[in-house]
Amino acid sequence: MRIDATHRGWAVASLVILAVCTLAYVAADSSAPGPPQGDSWLGLALGALGTAFIAFAALLGARRRALLLRLGPMSAWLRGHLWLGLLSLPVILLHGAFQFGGTLTTVLMCLLIAIVVSGVYGAILQHAMPRLITTAVPQETTYEQIERRLAEMRVQALAVVAEHCPPDTPEIAQFKQELSETLRLTGEEQPEFRKGPAVKVAADADEAAKAAAAEQTAAIEKGLAALLRFYGGQVAPFLRNCRSRRPALASAVRASIAFDAVRTDIHPGMEPALRTLEELCGEARQKARQIRLHRVLHGWLLLHIPLTTALLVLTAVHMVMALYY
């Protein structure tokens, strides 16, 4: 979510709340020999307020699972999550008189700080990275669909290669075997193959024509062998594991060189197929980049979320025990 003018209301409200809390704290501190502790009435009020903010921020996950309920726009929840979650830290610090206290409260404070810091980190990423993704990944796909799209691309790549091969080509059979799981996943049909060699010669053709046809057939077979070698050696492995940075095709420059080198070896009739393969490899690179950016963009949640649940459980215990004693 971008931090823009739509956040102004939340930002102002948060600052006002923080100012009120701080003033109350300072007033209590100056009127008594010591700062108001967590068990004073002001401390309890600040604790309750901070806990309410934390609870509201934590409810965002539940809100996401209740999209159909009329609970206000999701964007408002996101802004509230961001600002109230951020506000909870200073309020809780005031609640604890800027002391971490005992073991449980120290753990709670550390959790809260880690959560807020990771949240701020995430907010910064959410603010900046979508634009970066749009630029770096023009063919952006829904993240959850990337694997499916990559499978389709593998089938498509095999299909365009197979178009130039006779049905009994052993390499194609092997590729088909390797793609069987992918085909099951995507529901694609088996790629079709051309029947026989691409060059046909009339039975009554003269020797020269036959020789020309034989020469053309040899050129086609030579190009087909180069195409199959390139597909089997580089394209297929890259499409299977496009997230690896090691293959030559993982780099746009090196991929261009590799395709140009193959282009000189293949028959001109295979040029469209090679172009398709190049496009598919380019899209696969984008998918790999999207995956990497997505993990950066959402990886912090793997820390943010479990810490939050732990915080909620421990906060509940803290509330009960603090009131008990």
Partner: protein
């Protein structure tokens, strides 16, 4: 038929949102894991019965041993008390936990259970800051605030009232406004010590000037031997023998262990206070009570009268005169002004009535020698004595009232509203480089704070340092045009206590009344020390018989 890719709308599974993606699954697993881990920790803690994690902070130094025993303070009555008790009642309940141990040490009263600085409830209630007469101990002593001393409280606990005492009590003898001690932006407004505003109540005739300066010392007792402050003034933690005590007269290094113990028990062994001045320990070597050249006194040392009350002295004199009469061979000293012995009867024995008359008249003679100012009475050199000498030859000790020796009234404790520890100021001496000429270097530290001690000529001089002398160290660190000064705490609680009323006497482990040791007691102890238990009765008999 050539390969034809699917149309765009067929390439995607439009129900992907309903499937649980593995990353989403990972998030859910981690969320559950975080909650389970936290819950597991709490459950394990509760099952173990370990309450420490629930403490709101580390315990103070004095209560560290209670870190795993919450119930010691948070009794059953305090559980969820916030919901069903007022603040005052809750505080009261918590106070019970404190007072169960500290009730005997802080001098709380049963009415308030918090002492409330010895203020009555109406006073406390009328003062704007006295919000709750039944104040919570925790309102000042904030526990769970770390490994600190609970008594080291912020000055604001005190200045919340003492910054303006006007509403409290118009007749209060205390300063109306005290906001700080050390010098900060302005001088501290702590008033000077009350003890400096009135003369020394001590009735002992004493001149520091004469004693400290060898040249001015008129008596020949120990010629040329300079005195140091600690020859007479030593804190209770000192075990060194005294230089000018009775031990020197008796020719021993120090008085026996029992005597030392007896003396030490009277003083504060922490070294906070100076040991009381005792004739037997500090004066006897020079100020001898030797009347042996005039009278047949066989005390210990021989010829000495006891340093005791007039009544005990008279009893001793009577005993000695009776002994003298019963020992016909003993002669009166040549310079004696005693009457001649009464003549014995036909049976060689002195008539009992004659004996009584002799003893009564001559006891008065000896007393006159001790108490009569006109006659240069021994005791009157140091003590104020109310004594009216009866007519010579006609008076009788049995009819003459006893002399009245004015109590010395040397204050055992000067700062009645504050505490001071000499032991904690021992480092002042090494810090002081220069000492006045007649003063030994060891006494430089003493003179630094008590500059008048070398020149004072009369007992009425109060030789305490004033408050500015304290501020030299007890103030925030500052440069006064030279070296760094101050830096030592100037908190109120550094000197003042809240709960216990000021005591005129330092607390001792025995004999809190501060009653002095008589020569008889001292020497009886000495005899017991020499003779051991087997000779105890003999020693006691000798003591009673030999000592006036």
């Amino acid at each position: 038929m050539p390969y034809k890719p699917k149309p765009l709308w067929d390439r995607f599974n439009l129900f992907y949102a309903l499937r649980v993606h593995r990353e989403r699954l990972l998030k859910r697993a981690l969320a559950a894991g975080g909650a389970l881990l936290a819950a597991g920790w709490m459950i394990a803690t509760l099952v173990r019965g370990d309450e420490r994690p629930f403490s709101s902070g580390p315990m103070s130094i004095g209560h560290a041993m209670l870190a795993d025993n919450c119930a010691a303070c948070h009794t059953q009555a305090t559980h969820f008390a916030r919901f069903w008790k007022s603040d005052a009642d809750k505080a009261h309940t918590l106070n019970d936990g404190c007072l169960s141990c500290h009730g005997w040490t802080i001098g709380h009263d049963t009415e308030t259970r918090s002492a409330w600085h010895q203020l009555s409830a109406p006073h406390a209630a009328s003062h704007p800051d006295a919000r709750e007469p039944r104040a919570a101990c925790s309102s000042c002593h904030a526990e769970h605030a770390g490994f600190v001393r609970l008594t080291e409280m912020d000055d604001r606990h005190c200045t919340s009232c003492h910054a303006d005492l006007r509403p409290l009590d118009a007749g209060s003898p205390f300063a109306r406004s005290i906001t700080q001690f050390g010098k900060r932006k302005r001088n501290g407004d702590h008033p000077d010590f009350a003890a400096l505003s009135r003369p020394d109540p001590g009735r002992l005739r004493f001149s520091h000037d004469t004693h400290m300066d060898v040249a001015k010392r008129p008596f020949p007792g120990i010629p040329g031997e300079p005195l140091s402050c600690d020859d007479c003034h030593r804190a209770g933690d000192s075990q060194r023998p005294w230089r000018f005590g009775l031990a020197r007269v008796l020719g021993v290094e120090r008085l026996p262990h029992e005597l030392a113990s007896a003396g030490a028990d009277e003083v504060d062994k922490s070294g906070a206070f100076m040991q009381p001045i005792r004739y037997e320990l500090h004066c006897a070597a020079c100020h001898k009570l030797d009347v042996g050249s005039l009278y047949p006194i066989r005390g210990t040392p021989d010829g000495w009268v006891a340093h005791s009350t007039p009544g005990e002295i008279r009893s001793g004199i009577i005993g000695q005169l009776l002994r003298f009469l019963r020992e016909p061979g003993e002669q009166t000293p040549p310079e004696s002004d005693l009457e001649p012995r009464p003549a014995p009867g036909a049976d060689g024995k002195v008539d009992t009535a004659d004996e009584l008359r002799y003893i009564a008249r001559n006891a008065v003679t000896i007393e006159r020698r001790l108490y009569d100012v006109a006659g240069g009475g021994l005791c009157t050199k140091c003590h104020a004595v109310d004594y009216r000498p009866p007519p010579r030859q006609t008076s009788s000790a049995f009819e003459t009232p006893l002399a009245v020796i004015a109590p010395t009234s040397i204050p055992r404790r000067w700062f009645l509203h504050g505490s001071f520890s000499h032991a904690r100021h021992k480092t002042v001496g090494p810090l002081v480089k220069a000492a006045p000429e007649p003063v030994a270097a060891a006494a430089a530290g003493c003179i630094h704070c008590h500059p008048g001690a070398t020149t004072s000529r009369q007992s009425a001089d109060v030789l305490l340092p004033n408050v500015d002398a304290c501020r030299g160290c007890h103030a925030p660190a500052h440069h006064a045009g030279g070296p760094l000064l101050g830096g030592v705490s100037d908190r109120c609680v550094y000197c003042h206590t809240f709960h216990r009323p000021p005591s005129q006497e330092p607390r001792t482990s025995r004999d809190p009344s501060g009653a002095g040791l008589s020569s008889a007691r001292l020497l009886a102890a000495e005899s017991q020390g020499k003779g051991g238990p087997a000779r105890e009765s003999e020693a006691a008999a000798t003591t009673q018989g030999a000592l006036p």
